[in-house]
Symmetry: C2
C-alpha cells in the first residue's frame, strides 16, 4: 500500500522513479481515530490531506451548533479547506474522521517546493482542482433545483459506495435536511403505500 498515492498520481501524469521518491519523502503519514480532528475553525489549514484509508468530512458549524457537510473524502481523495490553505489565514471549517483513517499530508511550503522540483505536479493538481470544480458545479445544480428526495437520490447515484458506510445523520447534513426529516423521507420511500 506504500504506492497507493503514487499510483493515484500516475493515473494523471508520469513520474520517474526518482520523482516518486521525492514526492513520498515530502509526505507525512499519520493515523487518525474516529471523531479526531485534522482541522478546526479558527486554525490555518497548513496542509493538503490525502486519504489512504477511512473517511473524512469537511464541514462548517453554524451559529446554532448544527453541522453542514461540504465534502466527504474516502480512500484516494484529497481534502482541505481551500480558502484557508490558499490564503494561509484562519478558516471557518472543520475536518475530522468519520472512521479510523490513515492520512498522508503535505504542508503548503513542501508542496511549493515539490512544484519547483517536479513541474508535472502542477498538472496533476490542476486536473484534481478542475475535477473538483466540475463536481461542485454539478452539486449546485442539485442543491438549487431539486427537493430533498431528489437530492438524496442524486447523492446515492453519485456515491453509491458511501451510502453504505455513512451514518444517516451525516447524509442529512450533506444533502441539507435535518436527520428527523431524512428519517421520515426514507421511511416513506420504503413504504410507498
Amino acid at each position: 500500500m506504500e504506492d497507493f498515492l503514487l499510483e493515484h498520481i500516475r493515473r494523471h501524469i508520469t513520474l520517474t522513479e526518482e520523482e516518486g521518491k521525492t514526492v513520498l519523502a515530502a509526505m507525512r503519514r499519520r493515523k487518525l481515530k474516529k471523531k479526531h480532528f485534522l482541522l478546526q475553525e479558527g486554525e490555518v489549514n497548513q496542509s493538503s490531506f490525502f486519504v489512504v484509508s477511512g473517511i473524512l468530512r469537511l464541514y462548517s458549524v453554524d451559529a446554532n451548533g448544527f453541522e453542514h457537510i461540504i465534502q466527504f473524502a474516502a480512500e484516494g481523495w484529497w481534502i482541505s479547506d481551500m480558502q484557508s490553505l490558499l490564503t494561509q489565514t484562519a478558516g471557518n471549517l472543520y475536518i475530522d474522521a468519520i472512521e479510523d483513517s490513515e492520512i498522508w499530508q503535505v504542508s503548503k511550503p513542501d508542496i511549493d517546493l515539490l512544484y519547483q522540483k517536479i513541474p508535472a505536479l502542477e498538472r496533476y493538481f490542476r486536473l484534481l482542482a478542475e475535477n473538483a470544480v466540475a463536481a461542485y458545479q454539478q452539486r449546485f445544480v442539485s442543491s438549487l433545483s431539486q427537493n430533498a428526495k431528489d437530492r438524496y437520490a442524486s447523492f446515492c447515484r453519485l456515491y453509491p459506495g458511501l451510502i453504505l458506510q455513512l451514518p444517516q445523520k451525516h447524509i442529512a447534513a450533506y444533502i441539507g435536511v435535518t436527520p428527523e426529516f431524512l428519517s421520515k423521507m426514507l421511511n416513506q420511500l420504503n413504504n410507498p403505500s
Copy 2:
C-alpha cells in the same frame, strides 16, 4: 485593452513577450449580445471563456423551466461548464450574456497545445481552479447553513459590484429563492417597522 488577458495571467505567472503572443494567437474573440448563448443544454462545452467586458451567467434549467444560477462571470473572469469541458460530453448547463459582452475563448485542443508550449500555464490554471474550489466551498457553507436573508447579505458582501448591475431576478436565482420572495424580503429589510 488588448493586454487585458495577459495582465490577468501575469498576475499569477511570468510570461515572455513571445509566450504572450502565443497565448493571444490561440484566443478567438467575439462579441455577444445580451441574452445570446455561448452554451446550451445538450451541447458539448468546447471552449473556456474569458470575459473581457460585460457579464455572463452559468445556470441550469430545471424540469419546471426555472433557472438556477451557478456562477456569474464579470470582467476578468473565466467561465465554463467544467464537467462538459473536461469530459467532452453533452452538458446540462447554459451560459448566456446578461449584458452585451466581449468574450475571448480558447478551444480545449488549443489549451492542450498551449500547455505543451508554455508549461507555466498549468500553474496559472491550477491557481484559478483552486481559487474556484475555495469559492465554491465557501458558497456551500452559505447555501447549507444560512437562511435566505443571510445568503443575500453574504452575496452582497462578496460581490458588492455585481449587486448594482444585476436584475433582481438573477440574484434570486443565485441565492436560491423566487423573485417574489426576494422582493418581499428586500421590502422588509428597508421597512424594519
